[in-house]
């Protein structure tokens, strides 16, 4: 048919646009790679020692601005430490805490939501009550209260952050399960003798997993912010270990003297959150079977 054959002459503009489009599609993956490298090998990537203090070169602007010192690309903080190196080292804490916290939240929340939505009845009421009770509490307040009691350590922080986020997972999972459990293919699974576990995990979970994973990426972005908030409040990882939130907190006291101390960690948080959200969208498209095999 005439319609299917493409015209051989493609305008140059279209070609160029296509290349730009391809490159911009690769950009988030490049950024992700950088972020992961920072998490894994900050020692090799950081130009300076993030803990090395020097009162002589404190609160210097970035090196490309007047007054900056060469070698300290993003300037120095109130103790004269290299901001870029501290951001690179801070990635490790921020990424690890938020990823693990999301894992905790996802496992607890998804299991609760799956069981509640599948069995309904009393189990469901109990889970829904628990969700309502916890959602009535502001997350940060809850975490502050708990950390204040059990003390701020990295593992405590992860568990507390994770437990603070399970209700959203449970709610999303429960809703998705309820919309799927009465579909004919679930009945079909029962008719071929599948048990509850098999139906829950192989049939239902498999069909709602993509929405949970996508939500998990958004939640991870939020966890980065929670971690930053807690560090900002002094309840997160303790100094001198660099974290992005902690750096903003430190810099906030010197905003009148130097904007760069808070600005760059803040910028990195914004970029990282955007990156993770973008990856979430891509993941959703990737996991859609309707877009596969065509």
């Amino acid at each position: 048919m005439i319609l299917t054959s493409k015209s051989p002459t493609v305008p140059n503009g279209v070609n160029r646009r296509r290349i730009v489009k391809k490159l911009s599609a690769l950009l988030p993956f490049l950024a992700l790679a950088v972020l992961l490298l920072c998490t894994a090998f900050p020692e090799f990537l950081a130009p300076k020692d993030p803990y090395a203090q020097s009162l002589i070169r404190r609160l210097k602007p970035p090196s490309f601005l007047p007054g900056g010192i060469s070698g300290y690309i993003l300037g120095t903080d109130q103790l004269g430490r290299d901001i870029l190196s501290r951001i690179i080292f801070g990635a490790r804490v921020t990424i690890i805490t938020s990823v693990l916290a999301v894992c905790v939240a996802a496992v607890v929340g998804t299991t609760a939501g799956l069981v509640a939505g599948y069995f309904r009845g009393r189990v469901d009421s109990a889970v829904v009550r628990a969700i309502d009770v916890q959602l009535a509490f502001p997350v940060v307040l809850l975490v502050i209260a708990i950390v204040a009691v059990i003390g701020p350590s990295l593992s405590n922080l992860i568990i507390v952050m994770g437990l603070s986020a399970w209700p959203q997972f449970a709610r999303i999972t429960r809703g998705a399960v309820i919309s799927v459990r009465d579909l004919e293919y679930i009945e079909a699974a029962r008719s071929i003798g599948a048990g509850h576990m098999r139906i829950m995990f192989r049939h239902i979970l498999r069909n709602i997993l993509s929405s949970i994973i996508v939500y998990a990426t958004f939640e991870m972005a939020r966890m980065m912010l929670v971690e930053a908030t807690l560090s900002f409040l002094g309840l997160g990882v303790q100094p001198p270990t660099p974290t992005w939130g902690g750096m903003i907190s430190d810099g906030s006291k010197y905003l009148g003297l130097s904007w760069s101390v808070s600005f760059f960690p803040g910028l990195v948080i914004v970029l990282a959150v955007l990156l993770v959200n973008d990856l979430g969208d891509r993941l959703r498209d990737f996991m859609d079977p309707y877009l596969k095999n065509d």
Binding site: M1, L3, T4, K6
Partner: protein
């Protein structure tokens, strides 16, 4: 308007100028922009609707019959357009008229009812309000109370009991059959000359279907309107229609009066539909099914589009021009070079 020079266009034009034709379509081609390029959902369709008569368009899903009706109404989805051909309604060319002019025709002179009466009624308004809106959309001078009286009358006319009370009810309070009656009332409230009914009874139970078909027939007798009936059910065609057009993969493969086509079905697809339909009046040993399935729009076979599924296919069927229409008897057109099949397969005819 450019006319596509179609090999059978001239044959049908003589018919379309005769005075008892309300709506005639010639060489209509409706295309859609898709990821796979531009595809034609309707490809060179010629039909004419006689005044006061019912023309049935028969075919399976994906044959383009709904897109044909949406082309007439100019309600095509955003990526679709009529790219060629003409639609002549009472001497007026509908293709390319401005939207404002089309709005005056749509609903007032050509009305449409759909398969699913639940989704075509707005659940947030009473049925009365929706009929009144239909009246006032075309005649702003009608006062609300007059329009309401007309709405009640319209509901009575389609056989809704206690219309005075029902007029204030919401769609969800009505059964499926009642909703389809409301849709018909709404379509007919402006006394259109043409009604396009797109699978009007497919979603209904068989006893309700029978009532709706009877209703449509009696309303047609009463108002003299012409009906284009889109359906997949040969039983509904036999019961309702005067003329019929069998559509396959965007093209008409056989058209003629209902008695001609049922008495003397020529195209292998028409035969296949007849053979595939189980009969309630006799015990069949085995249905003569059509093999394969309808090809997707972007992968249309060459030549006669039915050839990959056809038992009578020969090499000539695969080249362009195999789908040329020929007149078998007066007004009975078939697009098959193998028709009539018994003459071409004499050894099997005994």
């Amino acid at each position: 308007m450019t006319q596509k020079s179609s090999p059978y266009f001239s044959e049908l034009r003589a018919d379309s100028v005769s005075h008892d034709v309300v709506l005639s379509i010639a060489g209509l081609r409706t295309t859609f922009r898709t990821d796979a390029g531009e595809v034609a959902a309707v490809d060179g369709v010629n039909i004419s609707l006689r005044r006061g008569k019912t023309l049935a368009i028969v075919g399976e899903s994906g044959c383009g019959k709904s897109m044909l009706s949406l082309s007439i109404m100019q309600l095509l989805p955003g990526n679709g357009r009529v790219s060629d051909g003409r639609i002549d309604f009472e001497g007026k060319m509908l293709v390319g008229v401005p939207e404002a002019e089309m709005q005056a025709i749509r609903g007032k002179r050509i009305a449409m009812i759909f398969q699913e009466p639940m989704t075509s009624l707005n659940p947030a308004f009473t049925i009365g309000n929706q009929i009144i809106e239909a009246i006032r959309a075309h005649d702003k001078d009608v006062t609300f109370s007059v329009a309401r009286e007309r709405a009640i009358k319209a509901l009575k006319r389609v056989g809704i009991p206690a219309a005075e009370r029902r007029v204030d009810e919401y769609p969800h309070q009505l059964s499926g059959g009642m909703r389809q009656r409301v849709m018909i009332a709404m379509a007919l409230v402006c006394e259109p000359e043409v009604l396009i009914a797109d699978e009007p009874t497919t979603a209904l139970d068989v006893t309700v279907q029978a009532q709706i078909l009877e209703l449509l027939k009696s309303l047609q007798n009463e108002t003299g309107m012409s009906i284009i009936l889109i359906t997949h059910d040969l039983g509904v065609v036999a019961e309702m229609a005067d003329d019929m057009a069998v559509m396959y993969a965007g093209r008409i493969v056989e058209t003629g009066s209902v008695s001609d086509v049922f008495d003397d079905p020529q195209h292998p697809y028409t035969l296949g539909l007849l053979g595939s339909t189980p009969k309630i009046s006799e015990d069949a040993k085995r249905l003569v099914a059509i093999k394969g399935s309808v090809p997707p729009l972007f992968r249309m076979p060459t030549g006669c589009r039915f050839h990959p599924r056809c038992d009578f296919c020969i090499a000539e069927c695969k080249i362009e021009g195999a789908s040329r229409m020929s007149e078998i008897s007066e007004g009975h057109f078939v697009a098959c070079i193998r028709a009539p099949v018994e003459e071409n397969c004499r050894e099997l005819a005994e």
